[in-house]
Structure formats: structure tokens, C-alpha cells
Amino acid sequence: MGSPVKDVSIPENAPKTLLLQKHCDYIAAYGSKKDEYEYCMTEYLRMSGIYWGLTVMDLMGQLDKMNKQEVLDFVHQCQHECGGVGASIGHDPHLLYTLSAVQIVTLYDAQDTLDVEKLVQFVKDLQQEDGSFVGDKWGEVDTRFSFCAVACLALLGRLNEVNIDKAVDFILSCMNFDGGFGCRPGSESHSGQIYCCLGMLSIVGRLHHVNADMLGWWLCERQLPSGGLNGRPEKLPDVCYSWWVLASLKIIGKIHWIDKEKLVRFILACQDEETGGFADRPGDVVDPFHTLFGITGLSLLGEQILKPVNPVFCMPEETIRKAGIKLELLT
């Protein structure tokens, strides 16, 4: 007996065009509901939330709708004495939010908002003997944190501060039989982790370690009959994988291995015509996270009305170019 393919069907009446202005309005309004339940319950990831919102607005050409000074004041207040940045005021420093903060000040070309020296020291101190990075002083190891560390340092022009050879060795120790990567040595491949590991290798110019054909096969098999992409075999499609999988394929030069038209159709069907924003799947509740990854997915697929997105940093290509960062991508 075969197990049924896990997928969704796209309703006939699902949106088929990009509702650009609705998304801008949705994101612009999101930050003004600071007293609402939903907003407060996501405070533990606020710094990333702000980065998602600013990036998607910038890609849609409407960054000026956001309150720059308010954002930068907030970022400044979230940096701790140790140099690390927390998700919100009073929340503990962590690499995840430190990267989001660095991305925000790069978008605004306002690095002086942060104490860069201390921040670099914070990142340096998180590297372990085996080359891995912990997320904070409590010691959780994850390849996501290797990406965060290297991405932070690259955006600040300080890559030479950590041991790159060891960092690469750790990433390679997380490579699996399918060519993908997991959280730690022994962990199963997952598109999100693959994106982080490829991004990390791209920044430090070591993509030659990747078996692009084998990994490309695993990645393009993420596409389901609905056109949507899942994150692992036998899982449901989700708009955020339009980013993790597509960006990974872009990095290894295999983006043409998926059916573009079907994926565009799936992403567009995840829009909410009433509220604006994207959900994970057609008919679900929207949020800023999926809104960013819906838009970045469409940008990678060549949607002309959006600014081109950089597949490694998930920021506008022009911002990365201005920052003078050179990346390795396979062709």
C-alpha cells in the first residue's frame, strides 16, 4: 500500500496576481498594534520580526513607510554589555537576534547604532573548539548559529576574527548521505539548515565541498504537485520553503531544476486578499515571516516589480553590493 502524497490543493478562487500594495499596508500597520495579544506573544522574536518587515518593505520599494528612528533606537536598546543583542528590550542576548540587528543596521546604513567592537567580540567568544558556534552562553550548538556568526561578521567586514577553517570543518561534519545538512553532526537534512550551511560556505568561498548534483536533486524533489515546496521528504508545502529551498538552489546554481510557473502560482495563492500578507498555505492565517518569504521567493523567481534579493543574506541585492560583500555562487 502506498502512502498518499502529502500536499494541498489550490482553491479556484485563490489570488493569481501579486497584491503588492495590500502587503505594504499589512506590514506598515503590523507595528502599530503594539498593545495587541498577537504582537506581545511574539516579543521573544521581535528583532527578527523587525528585520523581516523592513526587508520585505525594502524589496517592495517602500522602506520609507517604516519609522527608521524608532527602529534604530530599539535596536540600540537591545544590545547588551557583552555585545550580543536580545530579541527585545530586557530579553537575553542571542546570535539569532544579533544577526537580525546587524541586518537592520545594514539596511539603514547605520552601523554606528551598535557597538561593533563588542558585538564582534560576542560572536568570537561563541565559537567552540570544534569550530561550531553556540547561540548564547547556555551552549546550544546548531549549524544555524554558524551561519548567523559568519553572516554577522561578513556584514561588518570582520570575517577574519574567527577560525574559518574550523568553522567549515564543523559544517562539513553535518553533511549527510543525501548531500544535505542538519543541525548537528548526525542530524537529518532539513531545507532550513541546508540554506544556513550553503550560505555559510558561500560567504567564506568553500562551496566546492558541496555535491551540487546530489543536493540539487534532493532540493528540487521538495516541489509537490501543487507547485509548493516542502522542507523535507513527505512533508506539507509551506511558503517559507520557497525561500529556504529556492535560495539554496540559487546558491548551487540549480534554480532552473524546479517548475517556476507552478511555484509562482502556489505562492500567489497563499496571499490573503482581505488583510494582505502571505500565509504558509492557501487559506491559513498570514504573518510577517511568511510575507517576507513569499515576496523573496517571487523575487528570486524574477518578479520584476520587486527588487532583486540576495540569496545568502536575504536582503536586497543592492544593499549587499553597497556593503562591498563578495559571495561565491555556483553556476
Partner: protein, 307 residues
């Protein structure tokens, strides 16, 4: 927000929900306010555990509150007796289990469980393995739980042969279990190593695996898990490092080397070419011209081959 279906509601329902949420939010704000105050005043006591516990039971992604709990534990470890501490830790494990039931994919909750176990004098790892079995019954693809399982196995020295048996059983109950196939690819080279084989596993074992995976894709040819595993068994993913081609042109003084794997040629890593045991000098450049010190194709234009 994953997998939350949008439901149409009436104005009345919305109002009820709004009021409910307003109430919840008030409680949440009051609790977090107290928690941060207590932390500031270094009051690492039972009350702080109770307060953080209430909030985390509702929202286990609040990483800072897990950190505060860790601080509380480390403080208590200093002042409480071993027996008292053992009791507190066991209560914490029950609490964590209920949090995981509510949100089995919270990074913070799983990590906190590792922290508690690592801070116990006599951790019961058998119980932890049992917990993994239960959570993998609920969701056989939960990678957080698989990773925690691997940690438990490492810490408590569970024989890896038993783990292989576990994956066999999982696959028998459902072929379409990519997590189990993945785990096998990690276990087999440890249990039946053969460094001469491209996959690193003894040939007779690979043949058995081949039969098992064939059964899987005969049963369900559309299932991807088995096909990925199949390709790995055939060893097609790996290429041995060999010189694929060496080209030398005397009239052009040119040498081109092509290898099956990228090689590093740079400041401290030189490639040397010998002609009749004589090392010949030259400088190498990457054919792609992208300045990368790693390439599978290197060229040198100024070799002196006339000698």
C-alpha cells in the same frame, strides 16, 4: 504561524475572543513584569520557578524565561541538599514533558531538558530513551526528538546495534520514514565499517539493505525516502580523488591538470609537476578565473618544458 487555518467569525465571536485575549494579555504582562523584577533583585526562588512555569506552559518559545529558570537552578544547586535538588530536577522533567506535549518543536524546551539532565547527579537515561520512543510515536519525523534521542544514546552509551534495530522496526511499520533511513546511513558505517567501500559499509550488509529498500519502493514507488537511500547505497554520491586528465603542450609551454575533486592551490599549497623526476616550475591559475584557491581545473602557461 504554521498550519493555522483562517476561520470566518462573526462580530460577536470576535468580541468574545478579543476580551479573552485582553484578559490573557494582562496576566501575561503582570507575570513577565514580576519575573524580570525578581531576576533583577536576584530572587532565584520557588516563586520564580512557579511564575516562569506559568508563562512557559503557555508559550514555550520565550527563550529568556528558560534562561532565568537555568539561573534559578544553578543558584539552587549551591544552596540545596542533593536530595532536594534531585526532587526539583525530577519535577522539572515532568513539567518539561507537559510543555513538549503542547509544543513538541520548541528548540528551547528540548535544550532545557538537556541542561537539566546534565545537571543531575543520577540522571535516568533509560527513562529519557522511553520518552523519545513516545514522542516518536506521536510524530515519527520530529527532528528535535531524533536529535535528543541521539544525545541520550551518546550520554548513556546505548549500544548502537539497538538503535539500528529501532530504525528497522520504525521502517517496518512505515516505509515512508525518511528520518529512520537517514539514521541508518549514520549507524551502518559505525557498526559494519569497511573503509575500502565507497559508502564505508561492508558489502554483504549493503546487499541486505539493497533488498530492504527494494521492498520499500516496490511497495510504494512514489515514496522518495527509499529512492534517496537507494542512491546512497549505490555509492554514486562519492567520487574518489584522482587525476582525471593531465595535458602538457611543449610548443605552448602549457600544462593543464584536471582532478575529480577540487584541490587547494595557494600560498601554502603548491601543486608540483615532475618530468622524468625533475620538478618543473610554473605558476598555476584557476581556469574559472574567479580567484578561488579551490578548483578541479588548473592551468599553467609558463612551464618550461623544453629541457
Amino acid at each position: 504561524m504554521h498550519g493555522r487555518i483562517k476561520v470566518k467569525t462573526t462580530a460577536e465571536q470576535q468580541e468574545t475572543k478579543r476580551k479573552e485575549r485582553e484578559k490573557k494579555l494582562k496576566l501575561y504582562n503582570a507575570a513577565t513584569g514580576k519575573i524580570f523584577d525578581k531576576r533583577k533583585n536576584k530572587e532565584f526562588d520557588d516563586d520564580l520557578l512557579a511564575l516562569t512555569g506559568e508563562v512557559l506552559a503557555q508559550n514555550s518559545d520565550l527563550y529568556t524565561l528558560w534562561n532565568i529558570r537555568k539561573e534559578t537552578f544553578l543558584h539552587m544547586k549551591e544552596i540545596k541538599t542533593k536530595e532536594e535538588m534531585e526532587k526539583i530536577c525530577n519535577e522539572e522533567l515532568y513539567f518539561l514533558e507537559s510543555c513538549l506535549k503542547g509544543n513538541p518543536k520548541s528548540y528551547g524546551t528540548w535544550h532545557h531538558r538537556c541542561f537539566v539532565l546534565d545537571n543531575m547527579a543520577n540522571p535516568d537515561w533509560k527513562r529519557e530513551l522511553q520518552l523519545c520512543n513516545i514522542f516518536l510515536e506521536y510524530d515519527e519525523r520530529n527532528f528535535h526528538c531524533w536529535d535528543y534521542r541521539r544525545l541520550v544514546v551518546k550520554r548513556s552509551k546505548v549500544p548502537i546495534e539497538e538503535e539500528l534495530e529501532f530504525t528497522t522496526n520504525k521502517i517496518h511499520s512505515n516505509f515512508s520514514n525518511f528520518s529512520s533511513w537517514h539514521y541508518r546511513s549514520k549507524l551502518l558505517p559505525l557498526i559494519y565499517p569497511d573503509p575500502t567501500n565507497p559508502v564505508g559499509v561492508k558489502e554483504e550488509i549493503l546487499l541486505k539493505e539493497f533488498e530492504a529498500v527494494q521492498n520499500a519502493f516496490f511497495t510504494d514507488p512514489d515514496d522518495q525516502s527509499a529512492w534517496f537511500y537507494h542512491r546512497w547505497l549505490l555509492g554514486r554520491g562519492r567520487k574518489k580523488m584522482v587525476i582525471s586528465c593531465l595535458y602538457a603542450s611543449r610548443p605552448q609551454n602549457r600544462v593543464i591538470v584536471s582532478t575529480s575533486q577540487p584541490v587547494l592551490v595557494g600560498s601554502n599549497h603548491q601543486m608540483e609537476v615532475y618530468l622524468k623526476d625533475v620538478s618543473i616550475e610554473g605558476s598555476w591559475s584557476n581556469v574559472a578565473g574567479n580567484g578561488s584557491p579551490y578548483s578541479r581545473l588548473w592551468i599553467s602557461f609558463k612551464f618550461c618544458l623544453t629541457g
